[in-house]
Protein backbone atom coordinates (compact mmCIF):
# COMPACT_ATOMS: atom_id res chain seq x y z
CA UNK A 1 0.00 0.00 0.00
CA UNK A 2 2.78 2.38 0.92
CA UNK A 3 4.54 1.79 -2.41
CA UNK A 4 2.07 3.90 -4.38
CA UNK A 5 3.20 6.96 -2.44
CA UNK A 6 6.85 6.20 -3.18
CA UNK A 7 6.83 5.05 -6.78
CA UNK A 8 8.00 8.41 -8.11
CA UNK A 9 11.13 8.38 -5.93
CA UNK A 10 14.36 7.16 -7.54
CA UNK A 11 17.22 5.85 -5.38
CA UNK A 12 20.08 8.22 -4.68
CA UNK A 13 18.28 11.29 -5.98
CA UNK A 14 17.85 14.26 -3.59
CA UNK A 15 14.22 13.17 -3.09
CA UNK A 16 15.46 9.80 -1.84
CA UNK A 17 17.09 11.42 1.18
CA UNK A 18 14.06 12.92 2.86
CA UNK A 19 10.76 11.99 4.51
CA UNK A 20 7.88 11.02 2.23
CA UNK A 21 4.37 11.11 3.67
CA UNK A 22 2.35 7.93 3.32
CA UNK A 23 -1.37 7.42 3.01
CA UNK A 24 -2.53 8.08 6.55
CA UNK A 25 -0.55 11.31 6.84
CA UNK A 26 -1.90 12.51 3.49
CA UNK A 27 -5.44 11.58 4.49
CA UNK A 28 -5.14 13.53 7.73
CA UNK A 29 -4.12 16.64 5.81
CA UNK A 30 -7.56 16.95 4.24
CA UNK A 31 -9.67 15.12 6.85
CA UNK A 32 -12.24 17.80 7.68
CA UNK A 33 -12.87 16.73 11.30
CA UNK A 34 -9.16 16.58 12.13
CA UNK A 35 -8.48 19.80 10.25
CA UNK A 36 -11.20 21.64 12.18
CA UNK A 37 -9.27 20.76 15.33
CA UNK A 38 -6.00 21.89 13.70
CA UNK A 39 -7.70 25.11 12.61
CA UNK A 40 -8.41 25.97 16.24
CA UNK A 41 -4.86 25.03 17.26
CA UNK A 42 -3.22 27.11 14.49
CA UNK A 43 -5.29 30.14 15.48
CA UNK A 44 -4.35 29.71 19.14
CA UNK A 45 -0.65 29.45 18.28
CA UNK A 46 -0.80 32.55 16.10
CA UNK A 47 -2.67 34.51 18.76
CA UNK A 48 -0.02 33.67 21.36
CA UNK A 49 2.71 34.66 18.91
CA UNK A 50 1.08 38.01 18.18
CA UNK A 51 0.64 38.74 21.89
CA UNK A 52 4.32 37.96 22.52
CA UNK A 53 5.52 40.12 19.64
CA UNK A 54 3.97 43.53 20.35
CA UNK A 55 6.23 45.84 22.36
Amino acid sequence: MASKHLQHIDPYTPQFGTMIPLGFQKWLRTCVIYQLFRFVMINLKMTVLILKSHH
Binding site: H5, H8, I9, P14, Q15, G17, T18, M19, I20, P21, L28, R29, T30, C31, V32, Q35, L36, F37, R38, F39, M41, I42, N43, K45, M46, T47, V48, L49, I50, K52, S53, H54, H55
Partner: protein, 488 residues
Protein backbone atom coordinates in the same frame (compact mmCIF):
# COMPACT_ATOMS: atom_id res chain seq x y z
CA UNK B 1 -0.69 71.11 14.09
CA UNK B 2 1.96 68.57 13.11
CA UNK B 3 2.18 66.91 9.74
CA UNK B 4 3.16 63.26 9.37
CA UNK B 5 4.08 62.21 5.84
CA UNK B 6 4.08 58.50 5.03
CA UNK B 7 5.90 57.47 1.88
CA UNK B 8 4.33 54.25 0.64
CA UNK B 9 0.86 52.76 0.86
CA UNK B 10 1.62 49.06 1.20
CA UNK B 11 1.37 46.88 4.28
CA UNK B 12 3.69 49.00 6.46
CA UNK B 13 2.72 52.41 5.08
CA UNK B 14 -1.03 51.82 5.07
CA UNK B 15 -0.90 50.43 8.61
CA UNK B 16 1.15 53.40 9.78
CA UNK B 17 -1.02 56.03 8.11
CA UNK B 18 -4.39 54.61 9.15
CA UNK B 19 -3.40 54.09 12.78
CA UNK B 20 -1.77 57.54 12.88
CA UNK B 21 -4.96 59.20 11.71
CA UNK B 22 -7.02 57.15 14.13
CA UNK B 23 -4.76 58.17 17.05
CA UNK B 24 -4.15 61.79 16.06
CA UNK B 25 -7.64 62.70 14.85
CA UNK B 26 -8.19 66.03 13.16
CA UNK B 27 -5.70 67.83 15.43
CA UNK B 28 -2.84 66.77 13.17
CA UNK B 29 -2.35 66.03 9.50
CA UNK B 30 -1.48 62.66 7.95
CA UNK B 31 -0.37 62.56 4.32
CA UNK B 32 0.26 59.41 2.27
CA UNK B 33 2.44 59.62 -0.82
CA UNK B 34 2.30 56.55 -3.03
CA UNK B 35 2.54 56.18 -6.80
CA UNK B 36 -0.14 53.48 -6.76
CA UNK B 37 -3.85 54.10 -7.06
CA UNK B 38 -4.74 50.68 -5.63
CA UNK B 39 -3.97 48.75 -2.48
CA UNK B 40 -2.92 45.17 -3.16
CA UNK B 41 -3.17 42.22 -0.74
CA UNK B 42 0.06 40.76 -2.09
CA UNK B 43 -0.13 37.31 -0.43
CA UNK B 44 -3.13 36.46 -2.61
CA UNK B 45 -1.28 37.36 -5.82
CA UNK B 46 -0.18 33.72 -5.76
CA UNK B 47 -3.76 32.66 -6.43
CA UNK B 48 -4.17 35.30 -9.14
CA UNK B 49 -1.04 33.87 -10.76
CA UNK B 50 -2.66 30.48 -11.25
CA UNK B 51 -6.10 31.77 -12.20
CA UNK B 52 -7.63 30.92 -8.81
CA UNK B 53 -8.63 34.53 -8.13
CA UNK B 54 -9.18 37.59 -10.27
CA UNK B 55 -7.00 40.67 -10.04
CA UNK B 56 -10.01 42.64 -8.82
CA UNK B 57 -10.34 40.37 -5.78
CA UNK B 58 -6.91 41.34 -4.44
CA UNK B 59 -6.92 45.10 -5.02
CA UNK B 60 -9.11 48.09 -4.16
CA UNK B 61 -8.81 51.84 -4.83
CA UNK B 62 -7.03 53.80 -2.11
CA UNK B 63 -8.61 57.20 -2.70
CA UNK B 64 -12.07 56.49 -1.20
CA UNK B 65 -10.56 54.80 1.85
CA UNK B 66 -8.23 57.71 2.57
CA UNK B 67 -11.00 60.22 1.94
CA UNK B 68 -13.21 58.45 4.48
CA UNK B 69 -10.35 58.35 7.00
CA UNK B 70 -9.44 62.01 6.55
CA UNK B 71 -5.98 61.19 5.21
CA UNK B 72 -4.46 63.50 2.59
CA UNK B 73 -3.62 61.15 -0.29
CA UNK B 74 -1.15 62.14 -2.97
CA UNK B 75 -0.80 59.72 -5.86
CA UNK B 76 2.81 60.53 -6.46
CA UNK B 77 6.27 59.14 -6.02
CA UNK B 78 8.71 60.71 -3.62
CA UNK B 79 12.00 61.39 -5.35
CA UNK B 80 14.13 63.28 -2.82
CA UNK B 81 14.32 64.05 0.88
CA UNK B 82 15.52 67.41 2.20
CA UNK B 83 15.70 66.72 5.95
CA UNK B 84 17.26 70.11 6.79
CA UNK B 85 14.96 72.21 4.62
CA UNK B 86 16.45 74.64 2.16
CA UNK B 87 18.02 78.04 2.08
CA UNK B 88 15.78 80.40 3.98
CA UNK B 89 13.73 77.68 5.62
CA UNK B 90 14.49 75.04 8.26
CA UNK B 91 11.33 73.07 7.52
CA UNK B 92 12.17 69.63 6.16
CA UNK B 93 10.42 68.51 3.02
CA UNK B 94 10.29 65.83 0.39
CA UNK B 95 10.07 66.39 -3.32
CA UNK B 96 7.25 64.44 -4.93
CA UNK B 97 6.35 63.82 -8.55
CA UNK B 98 2.71 63.08 -9.30
CA UNK B 99 1.72 59.89 -11.10
CA UNK B 100 -1.95 60.82 -10.89
CA UNK B 101 -3.29 61.02 -14.45
CA UNK B 102 -4.68 64.52 -13.84
CA UNK B 103 -1.21 65.97 -13.23
CA UNK B 104 1.41 63.47 -14.34
CA UNK B 105 5.02 64.55 -13.88
CA UNK B 106 4.08 67.64 -11.88
CA UNK B 107 6.40 68.14 -8.91
CA UNK B 108 5.74 69.62 -5.47
CA UNK B 109 7.59 70.27 -2.22
CA UNK B 110 5.78 68.58 0.65
CA UNK B 111 6.86 69.69 4.11
CA UNK B 112 6.75 67.40 7.12
CA UNK B 113 7.30 67.32 10.85
CA UNK B 114 7.68 63.54 10.89
CA UNK B 115 8.43 61.24 7.98
CA UNK B 116 7.92 57.50 7.65
CA UNK B 117 9.69 55.74 4.80
CA UNK B 118 7.57 52.69 4.01
CA UNK B 119 8.04 52.54 0.28
CA UNK B 120 8.62 48.82 0.06
CA UNK B 121 11.17 47.60 -2.45
CA UNK B 122 12.13 48.45 -5.96
CA UNK B 123 11.70 45.20 -7.90
CA UNK B 124 15.18 45.10 -9.34
CA UNK B 125 14.55 43.10 -12.52
CA UNK B 126 17.48 44.86 -14.15
CA UNK B 127 19.93 43.05 -11.84
CA UNK B 128 19.67 39.96 -14.05
CA UNK B 129 19.83 40.46 -17.82
CA UNK B 130 16.69 39.18 -19.47
CA UNK B 131 14.72 38.80 -16.23
CA UNK B 132 12.18 41.49 -16.97
CA UNK B 133 11.61 44.94 -18.28
CA UNK B 134 10.86 48.00 -16.15
CA UNK B 135 7.31 46.75 -15.63
CA UNK B 136 8.43 43.29 -14.64
CA UNK B 137 6.58 41.71 -17.53
CA UNK B 138 9.62 40.09 -18.99
CA UNK B 139 9.94 38.74 -22.46
CA UNK B 140 11.02 35.35 -21.15
CA UNK B 141 9.68 35.03 -17.60
CA UNK B 142 6.65 35.97 -15.53
CA UNK B 143 6.32 37.38 -12.01
CA UNK B 144 3.71 37.42 -9.25
CA UNK B 145 5.08 40.48 -7.45
CA UNK B 146 2.13 42.69 -8.39
CA UNK B 147 -1.48 41.90 -9.25
CA UNK B 148 -0.85 42.87 -12.89
CA UNK B 149 2.18 40.59 -13.06
CA UNK B 150 0.19 37.75 -11.52
CA UNK B 151 -2.65 38.18 -14.02
CA UNK B 152 -0.11 37.95 -16.84
CA UNK B 153 1.45 34.85 -15.21
CA UNK B 154 -1.95 33.15 -15.09
CA UNK B 155 -2.51 33.79 -18.79
CA UNK B 156 0.91 32.32 -19.66
CA UNK B 157 0.27 29.32 -17.41
CA UNK B 158 -3.01 28.67 -19.16
CA UNK B 159 -1.22 28.62 -22.52
CA UNK B 160 1.11 25.90 -21.18
CA UNK B 161 -1.86 23.90 -19.89
CA UNK B 162 -3.43 24.04 -23.34
CA UNK B 163 -0.18 22.78 -24.88
CA UNK B 164 -0.03 19.89 -22.41
CA UNK B 165 -3.60 18.98 -23.18
CA UNK B 166 -2.49 18.69 -26.80
CA UNK B 167 0.24 16.26 -25.70
CA UNK B 168 3.20 18.64 -25.51
CA UNK B 169 5.40 18.19 -22.42
CA UNK B 170 6.38 21.36 -20.57
CA UNK B 171 9.15 22.30 -18.14
CA UNK B 172 8.30 24.76 -15.37
CA UNK B 173 11.10 26.65 -13.67
CA UNK B 174 10.09 28.61 -10.57
CA UNK B 175 12.23 30.30 -7.94
CA UNK B 176 14.64 33.18 -7.50
CA UNK B 177 16.11 35.14 -10.38
CA UNK B 178 19.32 36.32 -8.71
CA UNK B 179 21.79 35.25 -6.04
CA UNK B 180 20.72 38.03 -3.65
CA UNK B 181 16.96 37.54 -3.73
CA UNK B 182 14.65 37.48 -0.76
CA UNK B 183 10.99 36.38 -0.73
CA UNK B 184 11.67 32.68 -1.36
CA UNK B 185 8.30 32.12 0.32
CA UNK B 186 6.46 33.60 -2.66
CA UNK B 187 8.29 31.30 -5.06
CA UNK B 188 7.64 28.38 -2.67
CA UNK B 189 3.91 29.15 -2.69
CA UNK B 190 3.76 29.65 -6.41
CA UNK B 191 5.45 26.38 -7.35
CA UNK B 192 3.07 24.40 -5.15
CA UNK B 193 0.06 26.24 -6.53
CA UNK B 194 1.22 25.62 -10.09
CA UNK B 195 1.63 21.93 -9.29
CA UNK B 196 -1.84 21.84 -7.72
CA UNK B 197 -3.35 23.65 -10.72
CA UNK B 198 -1.73 21.25 -13.20
CA UNK B 199 -3.06 18.31 -11.20
CA UNK B 200 -6.56 19.82 -11.21
CA UNK B 201 -6.29 20.32 -14.98
CA UNK B 202 -5.32 16.67 -15.41
CA UNK B 203 -1.94 17.42 -16.99
CA UNK B 204 0.47 16.93 -14.08
CA UNK B 205 2.12 13.93 -15.76
CA UNK B 206 3.04 16.14 -18.73
CA UNK B 207 5.05 18.56 -16.59
CA UNK B 208 8.52 18.63 -15.13
CA UNK B 209 8.59 21.15 -12.30
CA UNK B 210 11.89 22.52 -11.01
CA UNK B 211 12.56 24.91 -8.13
CA UNK B 212 15.67 27.06 -8.49
CA UNK B 213 16.80 28.99 -5.44
CA UNK B 214 19.67 31.00 -4.01
CA UNK B 215 19.20 29.20 -0.69
CA UNK B 216 21.99 26.79 0.22
CA UNK B 217 19.33 24.39 1.46
CA UNK B 218 15.59 24.12 0.96
CA UNK B 219 13.72 25.75 3.82
CA UNK B 220 16.35 28.42 4.56
CA UNK B 221 13.73 31.10 3.70
CA UNK B 222 16.32 33.82 4.29
CA UNK B 223 16.18 33.09 8.02
CA UNK B 224 18.94 30.50 8.18
CA UNK B 225 16.29 27.78 8.37
CA UNK B 226 13.92 27.03 11.22
CA UNK B 227 13.53 24.15 13.63
CA UNK B 228 10.02 23.00 14.43
CA UNK B 229 8.90 20.98 17.40
CA UNK B 230 7.39 18.07 15.51
CA UNK B 231 6.66 14.54 16.67
CA UNK B 232 9.16 14.69 19.51
CA UNK B 233 11.94 16.02 17.28
CA UNK B 234 13.41 19.45 16.71
CA UNK B 235 12.96 19.07 12.97
CA UNK B 236 14.72 21.34 10.49
CA UNK B 237 12.72 23.23 7.88
CA UNK B 238 15.16 21.60 5.43
CA UNK B 239 13.53 18.23 6.02
CA UNK B 240 10.07 19.80 6.09
CA UNK B 241 10.57 21.55 2.74
CA UNK B 242 12.40 18.69 1.03
CA UNK B 243 9.60 16.37 2.03
CA UNK B 244 7.02 18.61 0.38
CA UNK B 245 8.96 18.82 -2.88
CA UNK B 246 9.76 15.12 -2.92
CA UNK B 247 6.16 14.15 -2.20
CA UNK B 248 4.96 16.08 -5.21
CA UNK B 249 7.71 14.89 -7.52
CA UNK B 250 9.43 18.23 -7.96
CA UNK B 251 13.16 18.72 -8.47
CA UNK B 252 15.29 21.47 -6.98
CA UNK B 253 18.47 23.40 -7.79
CA UNK B 254 20.17 24.93 -4.74
CA UNK B 255 22.64 27.76 -4.26
CA UNK B 256 22.00 29.23 -7.69
CA UNK B 257 22.73 32.74 -8.86
CA UNK B 258 20.78 33.20 -12.06
CA UNK B 259 22.94 35.55 -14.10
CA UNK B 260 21.19 35.52 -17.47
CA UNK B 261 17.74 34.76 -18.82
CA UNK B 262 17.16 34.07 -22.49
CA UNK B 263 14.26 32.63 -24.44
CA UNK B 264 13.59 29.26 -22.82
CA UNK B 265 16.86 29.13 -20.91
CA UNK B 266 18.52 30.45 -17.76
CA UNK B 267 22.23 30.46 -17.05
CA UNK B 268 23.27 30.19 -13.43
CA UNK B 269 26.33 30.03 -11.25
CA UNK B 270 26.31 27.58 -8.35
CA UNK B 271 27.90 27.87 -4.92
CA UNK B 272 30.64 25.49 -6.05
CA UNK B 273 31.55 27.94 -8.82
CA UNK B 274 30.25 25.91 -11.74
CA UNK B 275 28.19 27.50 -14.49
CA UNK B 276 25.17 25.65 -15.74
CA UNK B 277 22.01 26.09 -17.78
CA UNK B 278 18.40 25.07 -17.33
CA UNK B 279 15.83 25.14 -20.09
CA UNK B 280 12.17 25.95 -19.48
CA UNK B 281 8.85 26.50 -21.19
CA UNK B 282 7.45 28.58 -18.32
CA UNK B 283 9.49 30.47 -15.74
CA UNK B 284 8.46 32.55 -12.75
CA UNK B 285 11.57 34.02 -11.17
CA UNK B 286 11.41 36.48 -8.28
CA UNK B 287 13.66 39.55 -8.80
CA UNK B 288 15.99 40.86 -6.10
CA UNK B 289 14.81 43.81 -4.04
CA UNK B 290 16.55 47.17 -3.75
CA UNK B 291 15.67 50.49 -2.16
CA UNK B 292 13.55 52.72 -4.37
CA UNK B 293 16.47 55.03 -5.08
CA UNK B 294 15.81 58.27 -3.20
CA UNK B 295 18.25 61.09 -3.15
CA UNK B 296 18.78 63.17 -0.02
CA UNK B 297 20.12 66.70 0.15
CA UNK B 298 21.43 68.93 2.94
CA UNK B 299 20.33 72.52 3.42
CA UNK B 300 23.17 73.75 1.22
CA UNK B 301 22.13 71.40 -1.55
CA UNK B 302 24.97 68.92 -1.05
CA UNK B 303 24.19 65.24 -1.57
CA UNK B 304 23.74 63.40 1.76
CA UNK B 305 22.17 60.24 0.31
CA UNK B 306 24.89 58.13 1.95
CA UNK B 307 23.97 59.59 5.35
CA UNK B 308 20.36 58.46 5.11
CA UNK B 309 20.66 55.36 2.99
CA UNK B 310 22.77 52.23 2.79
CA UNK B 311 24.42 51.48 -0.57
CA UNK B 312 21.53 49.14 -1.48
CA UNK B 313 19.11 52.06 -1.21
CA UNK B 314 17.44 51.03 2.04
CA UNK B 315 17.18 53.59 4.85
CA UNK B 316 19.59 53.51 7.77
CA UNK B 317 17.93 53.17 11.15
CA UNK B 318 19.06 52.34 14.69
CA UNK B 319 20.83 49.13 13.67
CA UNK B 320 24.46 48.14 14.14
CA UNK B 321 25.85 48.35 10.63
CA UNK B 322 29.37 47.52 11.78
CA UNK B 323 28.76 44.02 13.12
CA UNK B 324 31.41 42.54 10.85
CA UNK B 325 31.71 38.82 10.21
CA UNK B 326 28.96 36.25 10.75
CA UNK B 327 30.62 35.02 13.95
CA UNK B 328 30.12 38.46 15.51
CA UNK B 329 26.44 38.85 14.69
CA UNK B 330 24.07 39.37 17.60
CA UNK B 331 20.32 39.88 17.91
CA UNK B 332 21.10 43.33 19.32
CA UNK B 333 22.43 44.36 15.88
CA UNK B 334 18.81 44.59 14.71
CA UNK B 335 16.97 47.93 14.94
CA UNK B 336 14.38 48.43 17.67
CA UNK B 337 12.80 51.86 17.17
CA UNK B 338 13.48 52.13 13.41
CA UNK B 339 14.46 55.77 13.86
CA UNK B 340 17.11 57.29 11.61
CA UNK B 341 20.17 58.02 13.78
CA UNK B 342 20.93 61.37 12.12
CA UNK B 343 17.48 62.84 11.61
CA UNK B 344 15.33 61.87 14.59
CA UNK B 345 12.05 62.79 12.91
CA UNK B 346 12.57 60.19 10.15
CA UNK B 347 11.65 56.53 10.55
CA UNK B 348 11.58 53.52 8.22
CA UNK B 349 9.27 50.51 8.34
CA UNK B 350 8.87 47.29 6.43
CA UNK B 351 11.18 46.45 3.57
CA UNK B 352 12.39 50.06 3.38
CA UNK B 353 14.72 49.86 6.39
CA UNK B 354 18.30 48.70 5.88
CA UNK B 355 18.95 45.43 7.75
CA UNK B 356 22.27 45.36 9.60
CA UNK B 357 23.28 42.18 7.79
CA UNK B 358 21.83 38.94 6.50
CA UNK B 359 20.11 36.44 8.78
CA UNK B 360 21.31 33.40 6.82
CA UNK B 361 25.03 32.69 6.88
CA UNK B 362 26.74 34.61 4.05
CA UNK B 363 27.96 32.42 1.22
CA UNK B 364 29.68 33.02 -2.06
CA UNK B 365 31.01 30.98 -4.93
CA UNK B 366 34.78 30.50 -5.44
CA UNK B 367 34.45 33.24 -8.07
CA UNK B 368 33.40 35.66 -5.32
CA UNK B 369 29.74 35.86 -6.34
CA UNK B 370 27.55 36.25 -3.23
CA UNK B 371 24.78 33.65 -3.30
CA UNK B 372 22.59 33.92 -0.25
CA UNK B 373 19.04 34.90 0.55
CA UNK B 374 18.56 38.36 2.04
CA UNK B 375 16.40 38.88 5.14
CA UNK B 376 12.64 38.61 4.70
CA UNK B 377 10.71 41.50 6.25
CA UNK B 378 7.36 41.41 4.52
CA UNK B 379 3.88 40.69 5.85
CA UNK B 380 3.35 40.52 9.60
CA UNK B 381 6.71 42.08 10.59
CA UNK B 382 6.10 44.96 8.16
CA UNK B 383 2.71 45.73 9.65
CA UNK B 384 4.05 45.51 13.20
CA UNK B 385 6.86 47.91 12.32
CA UNK B 386 4.39 50.32 10.73
CA UNK B 387 2.23 50.36 13.84
CA UNK B 388 5.13 50.62 16.31
CA UNK B 389 6.69 53.51 14.42
CA UNK B 390 3.36 55.30 14.27
CA UNK B 391 2.76 54.87 18.00
CA UNK B 392 6.20 56.31 18.73
CA UNK B 393 5.57 59.30 16.48
CA UNK B 394 2.15 59.93 18.00
CA UNK B 395 3.77 59.97 21.45
CA UNK B 396 6.55 62.26 20.22
CA UNK B 397 4.01 64.67 18.74
CA UNK B 398 2.40 64.71 22.19
CA UNK B 399 5.73 65.52 23.84
CA UNK B 400 7.70 62.28 24.30
CA UNK B 401 11.41 63.03 23.85
CA UNK B 402 12.20 59.78 22.05
CA UNK B 403 10.48 56.76 20.46
CA UNK B 404 8.28 54.87 22.90
CA UNK B 405 7.60 51.68 20.94
CA UNK B 406 9.81 49.05 19.37
CA UNK B 407 9.43 46.45 16.64
CA UNK B 408 12.65 44.50 16.58
CA UNK B 409 12.90 41.43 14.38
CA UNK B 410 15.07 39.84 17.05
CA UNK B 411 12.28 40.26 19.60
CA UNK B 412 9.20 39.51 17.54
CA UNK B 413 7.80 36.41 15.97
CA UNK B 414 6.20 35.92 12.60
CA UNK B 415 3.30 33.84 11.43
CA UNK B 416 3.42 32.73 7.83
CA UNK B 417 0.81 30.75 5.97
CA UNK B 418 2.19 29.52 2.65
CA UNK B 419 -0.39 28.18 0.24
CA UNK B 420 0.31 24.82 -1.36
CA UNK B 421 -2.90 24.69 -3.40
CA UNK B 422 -6.31 26.38 -3.30
CA UNK B 423 -9.54 24.51 -2.60
CA UNK B 424 -12.18 24.53 0.10
CA UNK B 425 -11.81 20.80 0.76
CA UNK B 426 -8.70 19.78 -1.19
CA UNK B 427 -6.49 22.83 -0.65
CA UNK B 428 -3.47 22.77 1.62
CA UNK B 429 -1.06 25.29 3.07
CA UNK B 430 1.93 25.28 5.38
CA UNK B 431 1.23 27.20 8.59
CA UNK B 432 4.45 28.29 10.24
CA UNK B 433 5.17 30.33 13.31
CA UNK B 434 8.68 31.50 14.12
CA UNK B 435 9.90 33.09 17.34
CA UNK B 436 12.03 35.11 17.16
CA UNK B 437 12.55 35.93 13.48
CA UNK B 438 16.26 36.62 13.98
CA UNK B 439 17.77 33.60 15.73
CA UNK B 440 19.17 34.13 19.22
CA UNK B 441 21.67 31.34 19.85
CA UNK B 442 22.54 32.62 23.33
CA UNK B 443 18.99 32.40 24.63
CA UNK B 444 18.01 29.36 22.55
CA UNK B 445 21.16 27.27 22.06
CA UNK B 446 21.25 24.93 19.11
CA UNK B 447 18.32 26.20 17.10
CA UNK B 448 18.33 29.92 17.90
CA UNK B 449 14.59 29.89 18.37
CA UNK B 450 12.02 29.03 21.00
CA UNK B 451 10.70 25.60 20.04
CA UNK B 452 7.44 26.36 21.87
CA UNK B 453 6.82 29.27 19.54
CA UNK B 454 8.22 27.82 16.33
CA UNK B 455 5.88 25.40 14.64
CA UNK B 456 5.00 24.16 11.19
CA UNK B 457 2.34 21.95 9.69
CA UNK B 458 0.74 21.28 6.34
CA UNK B 459 -2.96 20.79 5.88
CA UNK B 460 -6.39 21.99 4.89
CA UNK B 461 -6.78 23.98 8.12
CA UNK B 462 -3.85 26.20 7.16
CA UNK B 463 -5.48 26.81 3.78
CA UNK B 464 -8.67 27.90 5.54
CA UNK B 465 -6.59 30.25 7.69
CA UNK B 466 -4.91 31.75 4.61
CA UNK B 467 -8.21 32.20 2.80
CA UNK B 468 -9.86 33.80 5.83
CA UNK B 469 -6.87 36.11 6.27
CA UNK B 470 -7.40 37.27 2.67
CA UNK B 471 -10.84 38.61 3.58
CA UNK B 472 -9.93 39.77 7.07
CA UNK B 473 -6.94 41.87 5.99
CA UNK B 474 -8.76 43.43 3.05
CA UNK B 475 -11.58 44.26 5.50
CA UNK B 476 -9.04 45.84 7.80
CA UNK B 477 -7.28 47.76 5.02
CA UNK B 478 -10.63 49.16 3.89
CA UNK B 479 -11.15 50.43 7.46
CA UNK B 480 -14.43 48.59 7.79
CA UNK B 481 -16.11 48.39 11.24
CA UNK B 482 -13.87 46.82 13.88
CA UNK B 483 -10.69 47.16 11.77
CA UNK B 484 -8.60 48.25 14.74
CA UNK B 485 -9.42 45.01 16.55
CA UNK B 486 -7.77 42.89 13.86
CA UNK B 487 -4.15 42.34 14.90
CA UNK B 488 -1.21 42.92 12.61
Amino acid sequence: MARLVVMGGGVAGHTAATFAKKMLGSAHEVVVVTPNSNWNWIPSNIWVGVGGMSKEEVIFPLAPVYKKAGIDYRQAKAVAIHPEGKEGSDTPYIMIEYTDQTKPGQTEELTYDYLINATGPKLNFAATPGLGDANGLGEHTVSVCTADHAEHAAAELQKCIEKMKRGEKQTFLIGTGHGMCTCQGAAFEYIFNVEHTLKEAGVRDMAQIIFITNESFLGDFGMGGIHFNMGGFAMSSKVFAESLYAERGMDWILGAHVNKVEAGKVTYESLDGTMDEQTFDFAMLIPPFAGVGFKAFAKDGSDITATLFAPNGFMKVDANYNAGAYENWKPSDWPRTLQNPTYKNIFAAGIAFAPPHLISKPMSSPNGTPINPTPPRTGMPSAMMGKAVTMSIVDMIKGAPEPTHTACMAEMGAACVASAGKGLFNGTAAAMTVYPIVPDFETYPGTGRNLNGTTGELGLAAHWVKHILHFVFIWKAKLRPGWTLIPE
